[in-house]
Subunit: 644 residues, 2 copies
C-alpha cells in the first residue's frame, strides 16, 4: 500500500513522561534483571547448555520455556534501542551466542526436543509449541537486529524459519501451529528481510485453519500414540489434564480452542484460548497490510468487534475462564473467576495496533489504550518484581502477584510491551502524524522529506491537558491528528493559543496547515469520572457500576476502605471527587465518594430479610486505579461496585 | 423422655387439601408406576434376579442402585398405609419377595458385591455404599411393616443389621459409613423393634467420625490396592473422577466431604457432601431423643444454625457446588451453578423434623416448610414423570427435569417424602397437639386417653385462613398449638368466632381449654408479598431481591415475561399484586408488578456505557411459584430479581 500507516522506530521516540517513565525505568533497571535471574535460575538457559553438553541434568520447565529467553531478549533489545546499558548488552550477547551455538545444523531449534529423541520433533503440533517458540525466536531476532544492527540472532531465526518453510510451507506437509505466534512473526520477518516466502508461509498457516478434516484434529488424535522417549511421555501426561479443551461436550475434536473451528474468513466470533486468538488475528491484520483481501479484512474486523462488544472486560482483559484460558460466550464476564490473562490483554493491544495500522481508525487505539493502561499494566507490581498471570476483577483476598511462574509467558511479554511502548504513541502516513497516546515524548521524523520534531508534554492520564510543540527547519505543510479518546466528553484545541474548531473524523481531531517552527498545539479533554454500567446481558455486573477516569479503570481495595468492599453501596455519583496523591502508590489520582453500608447488627445473623427491615449507615468509598492494586497488603478488591 | 414429642402414624392423618391432594394423587397413581417401570427397565430389579441366577447379563447401574428399590418400596408402603391399591400391593409383594430370596445366608445383601467376588465385600467404606443401601433397606423394612403389618422385609433388614453389627459394632472393626444413612435407619430400627444394640451401633458409627487417624482415611488410602474382580475395578475407575472430593488442596485426606473432619460434637459448620451431612445430623437428632447428651445437642443445633444462617438458599436448597455435591463456605450461594440437590433439601426436611421433635420449637418447622414447598417440591414435574437432581435458582434455558437419572437417588426419595407428608403436619406431646403445617386434613388421635378428632380446612399456601374443627366424645382439656410461620407478619385467632389474644411462644400460638365437640378455631395470617434481600455477604444476590408469598418462593420464567428475565428490573415493590389463576400450572397464585427494562437499541451494541446514557421502558413482571417452574416450554428462569 502506498499511503500505508507506519509506526516510528523506537529510537525516534524519546519518552519523558511522569506516568510512564518511572514504569519504563523500573522495567529496564529492575524487571529485566529480575527476569534474567529467573530464566537463569530456573534452567531456561541451562536447557540450551544441556543441548551443547555444557550443563548436566535434565530438561527443566514447561516444553515451551525457550520462549522466555526469546521474549526477554526481545525486551532487552528494545531497551538497547534507546539506552546505553553495557551490562544488559553483555547479557544479551551471552544469550544470543548461546542460542546461536545451540541451533542444529539443519536450522532446528527447540531445546525440549533436542534433549529428547530426534524422531519426536515435529510430531505434535496441537500442543507441543515448537512453532510457538520459533515465532518468539523470530520476533527476538528482528528486535535484536533493529536495535543493535547485528544479524546473529536474526540469522538464527531465518535459518529456523527456512527449516520450517521447507517442511511445512506451501505444497509441503499441511500442519497447523497449535499455538499461534509464528504467523505474526513471519509477517514481521518478511518486512525485516523482504523475503516473500515468509509471508507465504504465514498465509499458508493462516489459510489452513478451520478445514474439515482439520490437520490439527488429525495430529490431536495421533499424538497419544507417539512419543518414544520418557521425557516426551511425561510431558504428554502433564498436559493430559488440558486434553479436553480440544474436545466438545460429546468428546470429539472441537477446533474452537485453537481457532480451528472454521476458516478464519468465515469465523464469526472470537473463540477459544484467548492468547492464541489474539496472536492469530494480530497476524491476520499484519498480513492484510501486505495483501489485499477484503473478505479476510471483513472477518478480522468482525472478530475484533466480537471481542470488544461482547467478550471484553472493562479493564480490556479477555478470557472469562481458566478452563482452557479461554473466551467463553457473549456477555459471559464473571469478575471473581475472570481469567483475563496478562498475555491476552497484551495480545489484544497488538491486534488493535495492527487494526489501526490497517485503517487509521481511532476506535482501535481506544481499545488498545484500555487494554494497555488497565489489563496489561496490572500484570506487574509497581516495584517491577512480581507478576500476574490471571487478572480477576474481584477477589476476597486470595490473589497476589508472584515473583515468577512455572508457565512464565506473561512476565517477559509485559517486559517487551513496556520496552516497546514508543511504537504505540505515534504513527504516520503520507503527510499526517497521528498522536495516538498521550505520553510525554519527543519524536524526530520526516514529513515529505522535511525533518519534523514534535515535543509532547502532558500529565495524562491524571490530567487532560496536552501540549505539542512543533520544531522545523523550514515551514512545512502537514497534518497532526489527535486521537479523541472514546471516554472524552468533548475537547478543546488551540493552535498558538487560538481556538480551532475541528470535528473529529474517525476519532481524530486534525490540524492541517503549513506549520512553522515553534508552533504550539494544545488539546484539553475534560477529566470527568465516568460511572459505567455494563450491557444488560452481562449478568455478572447487574446493578453494579465501574468507575473510570480518563483511560484508567478504578477499583476499591480493602486497605483503603473501612468496611468490606463488597458491602459498599455507592451513593450519589455526583458526590465522587478525584484528587491526586503523590505519596500513594508512586502517585495516583484517588476517587472518593459517599457510600452506604447496611447495619450488620440489624441483620442479626439472618440470611434473608425483607428489604426494608435493615437500616444503613453512611460511609465513604475510596477507589484507586486498577493497575495499581495489590501493591500494599493482600486483601479484597473489586472493580464493579454496588449502586444504591 | 416422658414428654417426648411424637408424630402421628400416617394412617391417622387423612389429607384432603386443594394444594397437596393433587400432588399426592399424582405421586401415588403416576409417579410410583413410572418409577417402578424405571427400576424394572434399568436393571435394578434384575440385579437381584442375577444374584439368584434368574436373570442373565451383568450388574446394571451405579453400585448403590439397590437403594432405588428400597426407597421405592418405602414410598409404596407409605401409600398403602392409607390407600387400598391392589395392583401396587402386588408389585410391593413381588419386590419384597425378590429381596428376601436374594439375601445371603449370613444376612449380607448388596447385589453389586454379590455379583462380584466375595472377598470384595466390606473392603471399601469410603465410597462403596454397602451401608448406605443397608440403611435404605432398613427404612423400607420399617415402613413396610408399619403399613402392612407384615414382617418379611423388616426381618430381612434386621438380619442385615445384625450381620453389620457383628462385624462393625461396638468392639468390632472400627469402620465408618462413607455415605451416612444407616445411622438414622438404625435409630428407627431401635424404635421399631426395641432392640438396644441397633441404637448402640448407630451411636458407635456417629462417634467414630472425626477421629485422627480416621478409619475412613485408612480405607480411602487402601481402596486403590483392593478389588479382585474386573467389575470392581471398573467401578473404582468410574468413581476415580470423584476421588479428589476426599482430598484437600495439598492432596491429603480431607474429612470434610464425609463429615469426618472433627468429632461430630466438635463440628462448627455444615461441611462437605450436602446429602451426607443432612443424613448424619438427622441421625444425631433422632439419637438425641433416646439418649441425653447436652454437648451433642449443642453441636447439632449449632450445625443446623450454620446451615440455616450461612449456607442455605432462599428455596431451602443446600449444596452450592456440583464438585462433590457439596456445601462450600459461608454465604457462598451462587444461583446459576447452585447444586441444591433435591435429596439434600429432603435431608434438610428430615433433619429439621427431628430437631423439632427434640425441642418443640417452631423455627425448625419454618425451615422444614421452606425446604419442602420449594427446594424439595421443585424436584418433580407437575405431571409426576420428570425429576430434577440439581436445582439452580437461575438458568439461561439449559435446564430441564429428566424422566430418569443414572444416579436416581432423588426421584424415589421425593416419592417417599410426598407419600409420608402426613408425618410433618401434626405432632403431639403429653396434652398438646401441634399444628405444624397448614394442610387440609382430618386426624384421629387421643389426648390423655380421650379420643380427639381435628378437621383442618385451609386454602394454604394460597390463602392464610385456617379453620380447625374439634370433634370430641366428651369435653376434654388440652392444648392446640398453631405454628406462626416466620414469614407471617402477625396473625389473628378466634375460638368459636371470638378473638383470642395469644402471644406466640417458641413460634406457636396456643389455645388451651376444655374443648367441647364442635369447637372451631380459626387462624388468619395476612398473605403479603415479601420482598427479600440476602445478607450483604451473599455476593451472588447483591442488588437483587426474591419474592415470597406465604411459604412459597417465587421465580420469573421466560414463558411468562415479554423480555429476557435477566433484563427485568423490579419497580416499586408496592406495585406487586397477587392473583390466583386456577387454569395455570394446575392452579397457582401469580405475582405481577411493574418493572423497567433498559432500551437495548440505545446500547447500540456497546458493552459499557455511562449509567445515565441509556433510557428505560416500563414493562410488567410476572412471577410464579418456584416449585412450579419448568412445566411448560424450556426457558430461562431466575429467583433473584434486579431491583431498581
Amino acid at each position: 500500500m502506498t499511503d500505508a500507516i507506519r509506526t516510528l522506530p523506537l529510537s525516534a521516540v524519546d519518552i519523558r513522561d511522569d506516568f510512564w517513565t518511572p514504569r519504563l525505568e523500573t522495567n529496564r533497571l529492575v524487571t529485566l534483571e529480575h527476569q534474567y535471574d529467573h530464566i537463569k535460575a530456573n534452567g531456561c538457559l541451562d536447557n540450551f547448555r544441556r543441548v551443547l553438553g555444557e550443563a548436566g541434568g535434565e530438561f527443566e520447565g514447561p516444553m515451551f520455556v525457550d520462549a522466555n529467553a526469546y521474549k526477554w531478549l526481545e525486551a532487552a533489545s528494545y531497551v538497547l534501542a534507546t539506552e546505553e546499558m553495557p551490562s544488559l548488552r553483555r547479557k544479551v550477547d551471552e544469550v544470543v551466542s548461546l542460542i546461536e551455538r545451540t541451533q542444529a545444523e539443519d536450522g532446528y531449534l527447540c531445546t525440549f526436543f533436542m534433549l529428547a529423541d530426534q524422531e519426536d520433533r515435529w510430531t505434535n503440533f496441537s500442543r507441543m509449541h515448537e512453532l510457538y517458540c520459533a515465532g518468539h525466536l523470530i520476533e527476538a531476532g528482528i528486535a535484536h537486529h533493529r536495535s543493535t544492527g547485528e544479524t546473529t540472532l536474526l540469522d538464527v531465526a531465518r535459518q529456523f524459519a527456512d527449516h520450517i518453510d521447507e517442511r511445512f510451507g506451501p505444497g509441503q506437509r499441511e500442519i497447523i501451529p497449535g499455538h499461534e505466534e509464528i504467523e505474526l512473526a513471519l509477517v514481521e520477518l518478511f518486512r525485516a528481510t523482504g523475503e516473500r516466502r515468509y509471508l507465504d508461509l504465514s498465509t499458508c498457516f493462516i489459510d489452513r485453519r478451520g478445514r474439515d478434516p482439520s490437520p490439527l484434529a488429525t495430529e490431536f488424535s495421533r499424538e497419544w500414540e507417539l512419543g518414544s522417549t520418557e521425557d516426551y511421555d511425561e510431558v504428554l501426561q502433564s498436559i493430559e489434564a488440558n486434553r479436553d479443551v480440544f474436545l466438545d461436550e460429546s468428546g470429539t475434536y472441537d477446533g474452537r480452542f485453537a481457532q480451528d473451528h472454521a476458516p478464519v474468513r468465515e469465523q464469526e466470533s472470537v473463540e477459544g484460548h484467548a492468547v492464541r486468538a489474539t496472536y492469530l488475528y494480530t497476524a491476520v491484520a499484519a498480513l492484510l497490510r501486505e495483501i489485499a483481501d477484503p473478505e479476510l479484512f471483513d472477518a478480522v474486523e468482525r472478530l475484533w468487534e466480537s471481542m470488544v462488544r461482547k467478550r471484553m472486560y472493562v479493564t480490556g482483559g479477555i478470557g472469562s475462564t481458566s478452563e482452557g484460558e479461554a473466551l467463553t460466550t457473549d456477555y459471559d464476564l464473571p469478575n471473581e473467576t475472570a481469567y483475563a490473562e496478562t498475555c491476552a490483554a497484551i495480545g489484544s493491544v497488538r491486534w488493535s495496533q495492527k487494526m489501526f495500522e490497517l485503517t487509521g481508525e481511532a476506535k482501535y487505539i481506544d481499545v488498545l489504550e484500555r487494554a494497555l493502561y488497565n489489563g496489561s499494566l496490572v500484570g506487574v507490581s509497581l516495584d517491577g518484581t512480581r507478576f500476574s498471570y490471571s487478572n480477576p476483577l474481584e477477589t476476597q483476598g486470595t490473589y497476589e502477584r508472584k515473583e515468577w511462574l512455572y508457565v512464565a509467558c506473561c512476565p517477559p511479554n509485559l517486559a517487551r510491551t513496556l520496552a516497546s511502548l514508543g511504537q504505540h504513541v505515534y504513527a504516520q502516513d503520507a503527510d499526517s502524524i497521528y498522536v495516538n497516546l498521550y505520553v510525554g515524548s519527543d519524536i524526530e521524523t520526516t514529513v515529505s522529506d522535511h525533518p519534523v520534531r514534535l515535543s509532547q508534554r502532558t500529565e495524562y492520564p491524571w490530567q487532560g491537558d496536552v501540549d505539542v510543540e512543533v520544531s522545523l527547519q523550514a515551514p512545512t505543510e502537514f497534518e497532526v491528528k489527535f486521537r479523541i479518546p472514546d471516554w472524552a466528553d468533548g475537547y478543546e484545541m488551540t493552535v498558538n493559543g487560538r481556538s480551532i474548531a475541528a470535528d473529529a473524523v474517525d476519532g481524530y481531531a486534525a490540524v492541517r496547515r503549513t506549520f512553522e517552527d515553534g508552533d504550539e498545539i494544545s488539546l484539553t479533554f475534560p477529566m470527568t469520572i465516568d460511572v459505567l454500567a455494563a450491557h444488560p446481558d452481562v449478568r455478572a455486573d447487574e446493578g453494579h457500576v465501574a468507575l473510570q477516569r480518563g483511560p484508567l479503570v478504578y477499583c476499591v481495595e480493602s486497605v483503603d476502605n473501612a468496611v468490606p468492599v463488597h458491602h459498599l453501596i455507592l451513593g450519589d455519583p455526583e458526590s465522587l471527587t478525584a484528587s491526586h496523591d503523590e505519596s500513594l502508590l508512586e502517585g495516583v489520582t484517588v476517587i472518593e465518594g459517599t457510600a452506604t453500608v447496611q447495619r450488620l447488627d440489624e441483620w442479626d445473623d439472618a440470611l434473608y430479610r425483607p428489604i426494608d427491615a435493615v437500616g444503613t449507615d453512611q460511609t465513604t468509598v475510596t477507589a484507586i486505579p486498577y493497575y495499581a492494586w495489590n501493591n500494599r497488603e493482600q486483601g479484597a478488591m473489586r472493580v464493579w461496585l454496588r449502586l444504591a
